[in-house]
Amino acid sequence: MKNYKFKSCDEMTQDVFEKIRQRKAENTARKKKLTKTAFAVCPLCAAAVLGVSLSNSGIFSSPQKMIETHTEYEIVNEEKTAETIKTTALTTENSTVMFVSTETETSETEEKVTEYTDITTEEIQNIETEEDTIINETTHVAVSSEIITTHKATTTAPKTTTTQKFTTAATIKTESITTESVTQPIQSNGNGLAVFFTYVEIGETRYSVAEYSTNNYTIGEYIGKVGDFSGQYGISGTNSQFHLRCCDTDSVYYASESSDILLVKRNDGRIFELKPVLVDWNDPVFNSVFDAVPSLLFEIDN
């Protein structure tokens, strides 16, 4: 039978301390290795997370794709729950004058209709006439129910224009806009998702479409996106030909030549020219126009 010799106290103590030192060294080496691995992997993980988050934010997708995938947009509206959209097209001898606007209670103080003509087609002769005459002439054209469709009718109406009355737009940039948000899906017109443009309102001044793909002005100072301002740029209607499409992400600039002119640059590069417009829609001469154009109602998101 073999004899087993137990460790003495000293032997065991020696063994215990030796093994403690050995294991401490192993743990330290393991920690170092782990730290090295962590430092090597961390930048990769951070880069991966950053890449995924940037990819999810849509920064790599094209602007057109962004518009198509956009499911909601915000219409900045005035406090009214419903507004009557009035559209009229005034035809002059060689050019179509078009403006689209909405009736508001604040327009009561306005007295005259400001019209804009296509200057590029023909030089316009300014004829000073009596205000009543102008309205009558305008009514003569506007009363026709045919105004729903765009036409370039040649009429015998004299080339007329009135003295333009602008409200100053110098200080509009910093004014805060108290608005109510209306959310509805983007309307599709067959050319991709888009919204229909009627006007943008900045401060007291309402800018409406005067020209499409203008070459008259050059882009000046950037003042924000269409969605940053109040207005009715998200209206859809049966008379889409009277509306110019734009999206709330389109950029708005001052024209370099005049601070009264705004330019809306669409994502596809096309440019709308916006000019201040003051329309007294309460004038009875527009009654027949209102009858011809259906009112558009908006759902107010409470």
């Binding site: 039978m1 004899n3 087993y4 137990f6 106290c9 065991m12 103590t13 215990v16 093994k19 403690i20």
Partner: protein, 185 residues
């Protein structure tokens, strides 16, 4: 505060002699206790050494619920249980090892227990179940109270009392087989 606690505190404060004192004081008792769990004195020595390494390396906090011995024996028991769990599938104890173990245990008994009666009882205990061996060792040889024994074995005091009663009966029958008078103990 007993000597064990004081020495352990010294070791935690950086004095290695604290651990040396602990090893000297508790080594043999711990080996016998672990032997009552694993049933092999050689393995018990290794596990006891592992227990001291564990204390020296990790410096676990003694919460002071019982005596230092109770705390140390609890750690020893946990280490032994871990060992059994790891080696449950493939037991490494050979027949030769058992023979060596018996002779080694006898020699250790002679040096540690000294008293002949104790040696006889301890030899009779080898034939008992592990739990009975444990409870008898802790109660009769280590002089722990039922409460302390319950803490070490992680059982309730009531179940320790029951276990102790059954262990006594088993021990009595084993001693009577060897014509030893149990009542004289």
């Amino acid at each position: 505060m007993d000597n064990g606690s004081e020495n352990y505190r010294r070791y935690c404060d950086g004095d290695e002699n604290g651990l040396v004192e602990i090893i000297k004081e508790y080594k043999d008792g711990l080996i016998f206790y672990i032997s009552s769990i694993v049933g092999n004195i050689c393995t018990a020595e290794d596990i006891a050494e592992e227990t001291f390494i564990l204390i020296g390396l990790k410096k676990p906090k003694d919460k002071g619920k019982g005596s230092f011995k109770t705390w140390l024996y609890t750690i020893g028991r946990n280490t032994a249980v871990d060992y059994i769990r790891k080696n449950a599938k493939y037991p490494k104890v050979s027949l030769e090892n058992i023979e060596i173990s018996e002779s080694a245990e006898n020699s250790l008994e002679n040096t540690f227990l000294k008293h002949e009666q104790k040696i006889t009882v301890h030899q009779a205990m080898r034939k008992l179940k592990s739990e009975h061996r444990q409870v008898l060792w802790l109660t009769y040889f280590e002089q722990l109270s039922n409460k302390e024994t319950a803490m070490v074995m992680k059982k309730s005091v009531h179940s320790i009392e029951n276990l102790l009663s059954r262990a006594r009966k088993s021990l009595k029958s084993e001693l009577e087989k060897e014509n030893f008078d149990y009542e004289k103990l």
